[in-house]
Every structure is written in C-alpha cells, then in structure tokens.
Symmetry: none
DNA sequence: TATGAATGAGAGTTCATTCAT
DNA sequence: TATGAATGAACTCTCATTCAT
C-alpha cells in the first residue's frame, strides 16, 4: 500500500462520508479535499471528475454489502434451515450497513438523483445483489419454508427497502444488530398477529 | 380562487414535480418557471426563496398523506377489527403516495438532504403523522391483535420505510393498490412462514 | 435600438477588439466584460458561451467585407473595364479591413485555431465571399483582360492572402487606401518587370 | 549527439507540430510530452518554461527558411538574372515552408499572439530574413529588372504575406513546388494582364 | 535523467437573487 | 403581477509549474 493508493482511498472515504451527509450535489470538492488535507485539484490526480467519485462510491457501497451477504450465505453450515440462512443474510446486510459503511448509506441516499448514465451502469451491480436475494428466497419457497402464495418479487423489494432504511433510524445502543436481525426474521416469518387476530 | 392563488399553486406543483424528478439541488428556478410559463423572478413574488419552496413542498407532502390516513381511520366503521383498520391505513398511505402525489414522493427523496433548519421545523409534522401510527399500533397491541412481544417502535419504523419506498418500484399495472394493501397486511400479521418453517 | 441591443453589440465589439489583440484563447470573459463595464456573467445573458462570441465575431468579420466588396462591384458603372472593377473590389476590401474592422482582423487571426465545429459552419460564409472573387476573376479572364494561361484558383488564394494580411503592416499615414488599391492592381496586371527583365 | 540532446530536439519537434496544429495556447505540455513519450515535468529538465519552447520554435521557424533562402541565393550561378535569383529565393521559401517545416508554419500561426517580450526579441530574426529580401529586390531594381516606380517596401510585405500563407491552401498534389515558384515569379514580373487589358 | 504527487492561479459557467420598471 | 437586465458567490475543472526522490 503505497502513499498514492492511500491518498486515493482517503479521497474515496471522504467522498462517501460527505455524499452521505450532504448529498452529491451539495458536497463540493473542497469539502472532500479538506478532509483529506489536500487542495481540491489534487483530486483530479486520482479521479477524472466528481461524477467518477460518485460512481466509485456507489459501486463500493453495493459491493461491500453484496460481499458480506454472499459470504454469510456461503459460510453457513449446510444443514441449517432456509429461515436461518435468511436470518444470516439479514444480519450480514444490517451489520455492513450499520457498522462500517458510509459507502452503503451514501449509495442509498444518492442513487436516485445520480446522473442517468451512472445509474445505468450501476444498475448492473444492484441487480447482482438482488440476484443473491432472489435465489435465497426462491430456494426457501421451493423448500416449503415460505408459503407458496407469497409473491417473492414484491416481498424482496419490500424487505430490502425496509432493511436499507434502517440506517436512518437504527441506534445500536437500543439493540445489538444480531438481536434486530432475529427480530426482523421473526416478524417476517411468523407475523405480528396476536391470538386475537383473525 | 384568484388568479394569484392559482399561480402560487402552480409554482408549488411544478416544484414538487421537479424536486421529485431531479432533487432539490439539481432543480433550478428556471426549470420550475418554465413549467409554470413564467420567468424565474416571478417566483419571488410568491415565495421568499427556493428554500421556502422546498419547505412548503415538504410540508404538503406529509400533510396530504397524513390527512388521507387520518381520514381513512376516522371513517372506518367502529366495529371493524384493528387489523382491518391498519389495512385501511396502509391502503390510504399507498393510494396517496402512489396515485396522487408528487409532493409526498418529493418529500421522501429530499427530506434528508434538506437544510438543517428546514428539517428541524418539518420534523414536527412528521412526528404528528407518526403519532397516527403509534396510536394505531398501540391500540391493536392492547387489544391483543398484535403480539405483546412486538416492539412497536421498531415495527413502525420498519413498516413505514417499506411503505414509503414503494414509490420507487411499484407499478400499478402489476397489482391494484387495494390488493397490495391487503397483501402487505397479510404478510405483516401472518408472516410468510410455510408449513415446513419452524 | 433598445438598451439591451446596445449592450449586446458592445459585448461583440469588445470581443472583436480583444480577439484581435490577444487571440481567442488568451482573451478572458473578464477582459471583455471590463470593456463593456459589466460583470462577466452578464455576458451569459446575451450569449450562450464564449464560443458563440467567437462564432458571431468571425461571421461579422466576413460579412462586413463581403457586403462592402459586393456593394462596390454592384455599384460600379456598367461600362468600366474588368480591371477597374477588380480595383474597386480591392479598394473595398482594403478600406473595410483597414479602416473599420476589428471584426475582420479578428477573423483572420483566429480562424485557424477556432474549434472545428465553428470553423466548419463558418466556412460556408467564407466560400460565399470567395464566390464573389471567383466570378470577378472569371469574367475578367473570359473578357480577355486576364491572360488565359493564368490559373485563377491559385491567383485568388494568393491575392486574398496578401490582401488580408495588409492589416498587419499597413499604415494609412504612408499612403491612402485608394492609392494602395491602385498600386496593387497595377502590379497585379502589369507586373513589376522593368525594361531589362526577360 | 547524446540521448539528452536527442530528447531536447524531440521536445522541440513535438512543440512545433502541436503549436502548428492547435496553436500555442491550446497546446498543453501534456500534449507535447505525450508525443515525446515522457511525462510533462520532464520538459522542465530541458526548458525553463512553455514560453521558452515557443520562443525556440519561433526562432527555428525563421532560421530554417532564412538559411534555405540564403543558401539558394548564394548558391546560384553568378551569371543568372535577378529575376532568376528571385525565383530561386521564392522556391527555397516555398520548399522549406511546404515540405519540411512545422517550425515555419508554427511561426506564422503563432507569431502575432505570442507574448510581447518574445515577439520583441524574435523581431530581430525576422528583420534579418527581411534584409535578405530587401537586398534581393533592391539589387534587381538597381539593375533595372524591377521598374523604378515600384515601392519595394510594400512589394516585399505583400509578396511575403502571400508566400507565407501558401501553407494554408497549397496542396502538393496540384502542382510541384518548382512549378508554383515559376508561376508566381511569372505573375510577379509580367502581371496577369491579357492583351485586352490597358 | 525523469517521475509521482501536489499546488496556485485562474478560467468558463451556473444560479439564486435583486431591483427598477 | 411579472419581467429584463444584471450581479455575487461559488463551483468544477485545467494547467503550468514545483519539488522531493
């Protein structure tokens, strides 16, 4: 890890941090440069444009969470139930989002408003991550652990929206990530209906 | 309704539309003025600043959905179950968000990135809307229709995140709003667990 | 002539002046704005870009000289010789170039280095002016006043190069424009060869 | 010829090429470095500044053409006519300009717009080249091969302007340089006047 | 002999905003 | 009630240049 690579990484980190906090448009290159302790034009030594900065931040945001979830699934014992694997995936998603990543949060906040061409290229990555979940849910349904009547397409979108937005309100002081993953999985599989409910 | 009031409203409508589409920062007053068929400085006859435009759009966005949900709850027959009332609330939320309102979508997209002072003032309104749901869920839990063990705080945040972000992916061609509301309520109360699931 | 039109014209005049003096690239919008007694962004109220400024200056530069030459030809008595008509054209060209026009001088200096797309569009105008001369020379040759062996293509290019570049060295104190036009025409038709020349 | 000298020369060659093609201002040191297959700061090992690059290119541009013309005159047999010597000079000028030299073309294009101090120093060289022609023409006039009435000052400026700008339009496919030199000399001495012309 | 890393100065451009009318 | 004209502030980006290595 040369000094050069380090500076590059620090620029990205600063970008992610600021894009998350103020959004892409409001963030200036000066803001970023200040954090890195460099003058703004130095950024152009490493990146072609502000847009490229956004694109890389966006990509890393998805890649991180994707890797974590994939790893969690792959690493789980082969004899566990699908419900347990889904819980593991939820936990990996939450842990990455909530613990490390300015990148993922920046992704969520800035994706819509990103320039069309960037969004288009980025979509490929998003879809790959979605594929993970598609497979996960499908297998669970085929195994009978998710009711046959459930529309997996809508379920996935609904679940991921909710998971992604935890970064807005989740406070790790309230509840450890593991507990939350378990709780979410519980609601998801068993519902909230009490004994009195129809 | 004087011509003046009408122009004011058209400026707001155009702002909501553009803020939703391109975000607050990227939208220029010229963009808005063009839709209204007016020159940009005319906006200053009705509003003090671009920020005020954002604030009003944000407020209307919440007010609309709040009114709709409140109305739905208040209008429901007194003898229906809490589950049915919650379904009605979900439907009202979705219908407003998905059918009518650039304002509500603009709110969702721009809230985070709004200037701090605006966000602070706006929070009051958001909280009022949240109160609606707090009451709704609490009553249901007290009545035993939601399991006692469920943490309502997290449940509400989780549910509302998911509901708000439907505007990103929902296509009314796929499924009527009513059906979706029913489906969501179903998953929420009964879970997705199949017969094989623990 | 409203104030607006006046400002626009003054911006163009200032541009022509500066483009002539320092060249397009070296001239800044601030330079131009200073002459017009306006701040630089005001230029954008009238023009889309610095390039548009260049294009208009280039066009005016050719148009002025074209109009003058055309007018001189059209206005000459019908019974004069072709040589006399050519002299009139040379005079009109010189008079416009040397007396009024920053525009034409700016054109000469900046044409090569102008962005390709501008050069391409501008070429049409240049060709129209060239057509003037093509016709003028052709008619003279057909009438026998220019020797049949002369290659008009090269002659025109050669003559116009020389005429255009008079703006670099001509001092009207030395010789009135009329005298110079006559002298040039003389050399052109009769040559410089003395009695001793082969 | 050490490697060092070679690199220096290649930097100059690349500069001349680019200054000719895009002009001094638009050419970046990166452009030049790319051709030489070096990084931009390497240029500073050989030259003090971009301006020095320009100055040397400008100088070489004149020197080359000067040497060629001088050599042509000096080398011509002592018994040839002045007209023939002038033709030889024209040929040498054209051949250098049109066949070899990015330097000379770069000179023509960039001289006006060069910084004042450079232009001032460079003027000395230009004047030396002009002296060549002054002498050439004066001797011809004294020998009676150019009419006594011809103003040599204007003649020289006019002729050289035209010669210099051939680089804009000359295509060697049309006519060999030798033929063009002969043709130009012909027009110059004998004029274009046909039998019908006064 | 040459480069990697960085900078200062400044360019064109955009935009919310102002103000006289 | 609305516009034409203009501005100040700020932004992204470019580039010649520097300097340690």
């Amino acid at each position: 890890m040369k000094k050069s690579d380090d500076t590059r990484r620090r620029i990205l980190d600063a970008s992610a941090k600021m894009f998350r906090r103020k959004g892409y448009d409001t963030t200036t290159l000066k803001d970023i440069a200040k954090i890195v302790k460099v003058r703004a034009p130095a950024i152009y030594y490493y990146f072609d444009s502000k847009e490229q900065l956004l694109e890389e931040v966006l990509n890393i945001g998805i890649d991180r969470i994707h890797d974590a979830v994939q790893h969690a699934i792959a690493g789980s014992a082969s004899d566990i139930s699908h419900r347990e694997r889904i819980e593991a995936a939820i936990l990996a998603h939450l842990a990455t989002l909530l613990r490390h990543s300015d990148y993922t949060a920046a992704n969520i906040i800035n994706y819509h408003l990103a320039p069309k061409n960037i969004r288009k290229r980025h979509l490929i990555r998003r879809e790959k991550y979605n594929d993970c979940w598609r497979a996960l849910l499908q297998e669970a349904q085929q195994a009978g652990e998710i009711e046959a009547s459930v529309d997996l397409h809508h379920l996935r979108l609904f679940l991921l929206s909710a998971l992604f937005w935890t970064h807005e309100w989740y406070r790790k002081e309230d509840e450890p990530t593991e507990a939350m993953a378990k709780r979410i999985t519980g609601v998801l599989f068993d519902g909230i209906g009490g004994t009195k409910a129809r």
